[in-house]
């Protein structure tokens, strides 16, 4: 495989240089020449392969905007590749330019009939090739733009339909109770005693509250999703906010006979956040904890935590696993190590959103892991992956996805690899590795959440069985909104749980510290705070 990306490109005017090209030709020399021509013309994303059997897989992974395809190749020829592309609904719109010899007019016609868009002839004439490619890319660019707009419209439409469906279902539930009890109080008055009447009026009151919370939550979420919400970012003391929220909940916990405690580490700094919104997050989590806990209680802990990233390691090589463990100790993350693929897959499926980095060994004995890797690239396109390979050559050949993958060579160089992995992890939240994180954890002794539902609790209207708790129902939007809020401030919120033992909701947020300027700069850059607000905030920091 040939990657021309790093090569110094000439300063050529090229409005298509961000488009992706794929060259498939079994003759390495042709690939080399075409690559040179394209790089010199300013194209930056060129992938190539001399083995035609890889063509379709490469198309799946890279989604090129144009394919340069040789016709006469071993194993599978260009005609067959065109046929298969045309048969694939997701790949059929990628234009193909076939490479033929001057003399083979018949071949050209046959390829064009099958769906090839154009042809270039050997020996290559650079200016002709570039013109033909550019013509096709112009159309392809329009096509891509239309497709993007179409997807965006589709997304808006889906959101609207979902909202309509939600409104019709979720709002009707409290409405049903309200209507029923109003009718009961009006029509069944003779059959009711004072106690009944009081209870029914209380239900009407509660359900009216629920309805109004639902409406304001829905509007909040809608505003967040459309970027129209106002964020009043200020310097916030998380210990104080946690303490205030806890005191607000104390009477309710006391009534249920539950304990409520706050443990805070000394010297916890402040964070830049919207105070009302972080209070809203804590309130959501605490009211859930209260609802699902019948004995014991809730402990809130505020402390530093830089080991928040979850790493999965797949390797059967003991040396590799001990070296990776050593590297990760330096980076401080939670690591789960497995030697078999099925366990890793299972783990990813159950807690997909909780895995921050996957490290896969594809060297020697673990060569078959490559299959898994290719599969995962398609299933989890955004998951950062570090690949351990045996030598340079393998790294080159197996660089199946340029984005989100890092390669580590065996024998492993600890320092270099640590830097590479650290970079991948800090990229996750868009902050530098120097940022310290504050963690607020809210641990209850409630019923716990099944593993399969751990990610779903943050989904809109995730249904849980609350019938036996006899508590007032939530809106089903609290954790979704919390997630949006924490995400906005470069934080993370997730839940760990054990059935019958309880759940722990964890929130991490970047700490603002005077000596670490980077975070402040990012906040200013993103428009979350003004320079003035930041310098005022920093004045009070020790």
């Amino acid at each position: 495989m040939l990657q021309k990306t790093d090569k110094k490109s000439l300063p050529v005017e090229n409005s298509f240089n961000d488009m992706r090209l794929l060259i498939i030709d079994d003759e390495p020399f042709n690939v080399e020449i075409l690559g040179e021509i394209l790089v010199d013309a300013g194209y930056q994303h060129i992938t190539s392969d001399t083995d035609p059997r890889n063509a379709l897989a490469l198309c799946e992974i890279h989604r090129p905007d144009l394919i340069l395809l040789d016709l006469q190749m071993p194993y599978i020829d260009g005609f067959e590749i065109i046929k298969r592309l045309k048969a694939n609904t997701e790949l059929c719109n990628i234009p193909t330019v076939v490479i033929t010899a001057q003399t083979s007019k018949e071949y050209r016609l046959r390829a064009l009939n099958l769906g090839a868009k154009d042809f270039i002839t050997k020996p290559f004439d650079p200016s002709e090739i570039l013109t033909r490619i550019q013509n096709l890319l112009e159309t392809q660019k329009l096509h891509n733009n239309l497709e993007n707009q179409n997807q965006e419209l589709q997304r808006v439409n889906d959101t609207m339909s979902e909202l309509v469906s939600i409104v019709s279902h979720e709002l009707r539930t409290p409405l049903t109770s309200i209507k029923s009890f109003v009718e009961i109080l009006r029509d069944e008055n003779d059959n009711l005693d004072e106690e009944n009447k009081r209870q029914f009026l209380q239900i009407i009151d509660n359900e009216t509250d629920r309805l109004s919370r639902l409406i304001s939550d829905l509007l909040d979420l809608q505003k967040m999703n459309s970027g129209k919400i106002a964020w009043n970012t200020e310097l916030v003391d998380l210990i104080k906010v946690s303490h205030d929220t806890m005191e607000f909940f104390r009477p309710a916990f006391h009534d249920k006979g539950l304990s409520l405690m706050l443990n805070a580490e000394m010297k916890i700094g402040h964070v830049m956040i919207d105070a009302d919104k972080i209070r809203q997050v804590l309130t959501n989590v605490l009211s859930n904890a209260l609802k699902f806990t019948t004995a014991g209680g809730v402990t809130i802990t505020v402390k530093h935590n830089n080991a928040w990233a979850n790493v999965l390691l797949l390797s059967s090589d003991e040396v590799v696993s001990s070296q990776i463990t050593e590297i990760l100790t330096g980076v401080s993350v939670n690591t789960i190590h497995h030697t078999d693929r099925d366990t890793i897959l299972e783990h990813l499926e159950c807690s997909g959103g909780n895995t921050d980095l996957l490290i896969v060994d594809i060297s020697h004995r673990d060569a078959e892991n490559l299959v898994l890797l290719e599969q995962l690239r398609i299933t989890y396109p955004a998951l950062p992956i570090t690949v351990i390979v045996s030598d340079d050559e393998t790294a080159e050949r197996k660089k199946y996805s340029v984005q989100k993958s890092t390669f580590i060579k065996k024998p492993i160089n600890i320092e270099k690899s640590r830097a590479a992995i650290e970079l991948q992890i800090t990229d996750l939240i868009g902050l530098s590795s120097q940022t310290t994180m504050i963690e607020i954890s809210i641990a209850d002794t409630g019923s716990g959440i099944p593993i399969k539902d751990l990610n779903k609790v943050f989904d809109r209207f995730h249904q849980v069985d609350t019938s036996h708790t006899r508590e007032q129902s939530g809106t089903g939007l609290g954790l979704t909104i919390s997630n949006e809020i924490i995400d906005h401030y470069y934080g993370r919120i997730w839940v760990e749980s054990e059935i019958d033992k309880g759940s722990v909701f964890k929130i991490i947020l970047p700490e603002l510290r005077k000596e670490k300027k980077k975070l402040g700069e990012i906040l200013v850059e993103k428009g979350l705070v003004t320079v003035e607000q930041l310098s005022n905030a920093l004045k009070y920091q020790t």
Binding site: T176, F181, E188
Partner: protein
Amino acid sequence: MDKTANILIVEDDFAISLAIKTILQNNVNCQLTLCYNGQEAIDSLEKITYDLVLSDWNMPVKTGQELLEYIRGNEKEQVKTLPFIMLTARADRDSVINAAKLGVTDFIHKPFNREQLITKIKQALSMPGDQCGGNNTGKNTQATQATDAKTQDITIEKQCSNRRTIS
């Protein structure tokens, strides 16, 4: 009705369940059992003989659909032919048609009114057993569905995907 009817109410929302209980107790000669999801209802059906099931559709653990499938597929003729009234907040044509195919006796849409609830329950209780669902009642349930769809002015909506993951 002269005889006291034994009614099973399956509804996961406590307030709605209490409202139904209050209305029926005061207006229908009946004895009520309250369950909060499909599974509890199935457990109860194994022990107690009922005359009517009034069930919500969207519920955790086991849905109304699963409950209805259990009932219509039951070995005991008495359970198999039980009148089954579906309570639904989702005015969704697909789920209503689906429910009708499975042998729902009647529908009550949320928010319902008191009179409608009482009338529909009394109506279902006065039906002879062989008209209330089961294999031989396809014609009857379809007819119910058709008139219902017309009178309730059902709008077609996309199903809420989050809910489907649970059911």
